[in-house]
């Protein structure tokens, strides 16, 4: 049986149903991310696990025990907030000790545990600092230590990195992942940043309008999006309109160029229009590029983005973007030039919904 189980979870605020029939089983020690745009209900699910919101329906079970009648301070759950939420009137050590003091642990044990926690986040030397004397990244590490100090059953992270600078965001997410693996603590991480979710998680739940659109490992989510929403939200994507030529042989045409798909087309007939998806990094215009499929088109723009150069070309009615890694010797295609993009037919996904 799973460690943390959410069954038919629902939540309405007045007439607005924010979470609709949410189901999820999380194993002990798993790192799960809830990924979705703002308003998709991901934070509400987290807050129901923490006990800050009461579900309108459904059950939450942790380690076999229903949480329905437990108040937030009875659940033994660690929580880290976007706004750090360190107690401004306490220094670092007092913040970390707070949960243990409330639990009435003996002083020696508290001191020992605080020391251990500060070692874990590598801030031993700042034990006497007050929150306002520290950077955002340091504050968030203290918040993590504070949440972990009372040995919670589950760790909940509510967009803990959103308020930080880009470089600190990357290093802190790696630190969080490391600590989580070291302690083996079951963790739920809420974010709207797909790179964050992809790089840190065992599994990702992509949420859309109060439901889980897809649950899976990062590579699954990215490479085999289940819905148009997932395909669009996770990564950049070209949506290409294609006309069915021959359903039996999976033949379609994009503009006036024929392409044979790998996936069966399903229940369509010749002349129907279908949507295909292609990631900008899936193809290449290099003369020696591999791939069993090619599309030619006129370049409408090229954009230098730093590590990649993004080029847009027009094929039929669709604009297709593709990326090349920048290198000093590379001459990007010129607007108006006709280029041929080669890729593997299986990279063309059929978007159904």
């Amino acid at each position: 049986m799973s460690f943390l189980t959410l069954t038919s979870l629902q939540k309405s605020f007045g007439p607005v149903q924010v979470v609709k029939d949410f189901n999820m089983s999380i194993e002990k020690g798993e790192f799960i991310s809830f990924l979705g745009p703002s308003g998709c209900g991901k934070t509400t699910v987290l807050r129901m696990i923490a006990g800050f919101e009461t579900p309108s329906g459904g059950t939450i079970t942790i380690n076999g025990k229903s949480q329905a009648n437990l108040r937030p301070n009875q659940r033994n759950i660690g929580m880290v907030f976007q706004a750090y939420a360190l107690f401004p009137n306490m220094n670092v050590a007092e913040n970390v000790a707070f949960g243990l003091k409330v639990a009435g642990r003996p002083k020696a044990e508290i001191d020992q545990r605080v020391k251990e926690m500060l070692g874990l986040i590598k801030l031993d030397h700042l034990a006497d600092r007050y929150p306002y004397q520290m950077s955002g990244g340091q504050q968030q590490r203290v918040a993590l230590a504070r949440a972990l100090a009372p040995k919670p059953q589950v760790l909940l992270l509510d967009e803990p990195l959103s308020a930080l600078d880009a470089k600190i965001r990357v290093s802190l997410r790696e630190e969080i992942r490391m600590i989580q693996q070291q302690l083996g603590i079951t963790t739920v991480f809420v974010t709207h940043d797909q790179e964050e979710a992809l790089s840190i998680s065992d599994r990702i739940v992509v949420m859309n309008a109060g439901r889980a659109d897809q649950i899976g490992a990062p590579a699954d989510i990215y490479n085999r999006p289940a819905t148009r929403f997932v395909a669009n939200f996770v990564g950049t994507l070209n949506l290409i309109e294609a006309k069915v030529v021959d359903p039996a042989s999976n033949r379609v045409s994009i503009g006036d160029q024929g392409v044979t798909l790998r996936e069966p087309l399903g229940d369509v007939k010749a002349g129907d229009t279908i949507s295909l998806a292609l990631r900008p990094e899936a193809g290449s215009i290099a003369p020696d590029a591999k791939g069993d499929t090619a599309l030619s088109g006129e370049v409408v723009s090229t954009n230098f983005l730093g590590s990649v150069i993004r080029t847009r070309m027009k094929v039929g009615e669709s604009i297709i973007s593709f990326d090349m890694f920048n290198s000093p010797g590379l001459v990007p295609p010129v607007v108006g030039e006709t280029v041929t993009l080669r890729f593997v037919a299986s990279d063309l996904l059929i978007i159904r919904d």
Binding site: A50, G51, F52, R71, P72, N73, Q74, R75, N76, I77, G78, M79, F81, A83, A85, L86, F87, P88, N89, F98, G99, V102, A103, Y130, P131, Y132, Q133, A143, R146, A147, P150
Partner: protein, 260 residues
């Protein structure tokens, strides 16, 4: 443009505050004909009725402050946390004492709690004192509430509360360990304003016939020349000193706690 404002501020300050103060201070020192002396101050301080009324008013002020803090801090916290929709109404209620003349409040109290009512507070001295304290608390409510409310706005009480809850803390712990320490300066500044209001209040104390400092000041003002000036200067110095103290405390607090 800058010059215009600087001059305006200067003239405004002079006409409004500084010149009247200087004039009054000057006058208060002239009780002994022809020379400057502290006679007026000596007379005031030596008056047993000054001592009596001043002590009474200080005790009443302290009682009012304790009552106000116990009433306002949890209420303001709770309203911000759980009933933000009620905030405009609460603000409205706390504004009422500003605009309802004190006489109305006292008059209502007397009618309601007189010796023949179901709660005959005016029948005993203690009862009347309690009634007066209620009246003072009403007068001070706007300042205390706004001060505490502003203090609460400066910290993210919703998240701090949830953080404390997730660490196992109950309501008492949250109020005592997290909320109160973080709004201490606001509470102090509200307390000081309450103090100043109670010390100076006239109408209620007079109507309830209690030996407070306000009526004494009024009496002195009507019958003497130099003593009220001395009293005014003294109360100004007291006020200024307390305000300075508040500024000091709040600066110290800022140094220790503001988010850099």
């Amino acid at each position: 443009m800058k010059k215009f404002w600087a001059w305006g501020a200067l003239i405004f300050g002079l006409l409004y505050f500084i010149l009247p103060l200087i004039g009054m201070t000057n006058f208060s020192l002239k009780m002994r004909r022809g020379v400057y002396s502290l006679d007026a101050y000596a007379v005031v301080l030596g008056d047993p009725r000054f001592q009596e009324t001043f002590t009474y008013s200080i005790l009443m002020a302290l009682a009012t402050i304790v009552f106000g803090v116990v009433l306002v801090v949890p209420t303001a916290y709770w309203v911000r946390l759980k009933l933000p929709g009620l905030r405009p109404y609460i603000e409205f209620v706390t504004l009422l004492p500003l605009v309802i003349p004190a006489i109305v409040i006292v008059f209502g109290y007397i009618r309601l709690y007189n010796t023949s009512s179901w709660l005959p507070l005016t029948g005993s001295i203690t009862g009347t004192n309690i009634l007066l304290m209620f009246g003072y608390a009403t007068l001070a409510l706007p300042y205390m509430y706004r001060s505490v409310d502003t203090g609460l706005r400066a910290i993210d009480i919703a998240t701090l509360t949830e953080a404390a809850q997730s660490l196992g803390a109950g309501w008492t712990t949250i109020l005592a360990k997290i909320i109160l320490p973080n709004v201490l300066v606001a509470v102090l500044s509200g307390a000081f304003l309450t103090f100043a209001i109670v010390i100076g209040e006239f109408t209620m104390a007079a109507l309830l016939n209690r030996p407070a400092f306000g009526p004494y000041m009024q009496l002195l003002g009507a019958n003497r020349a130099y003593e009220p000036a001395a009293l005014a200067v003294m109360s100004f110095v007291l006020t200024w000193g307390c305000l300075g103290l508040i500024q000091l405390v709040s600066r110290f607090q800022k140094g220790a706690q503001s988010p850099a």
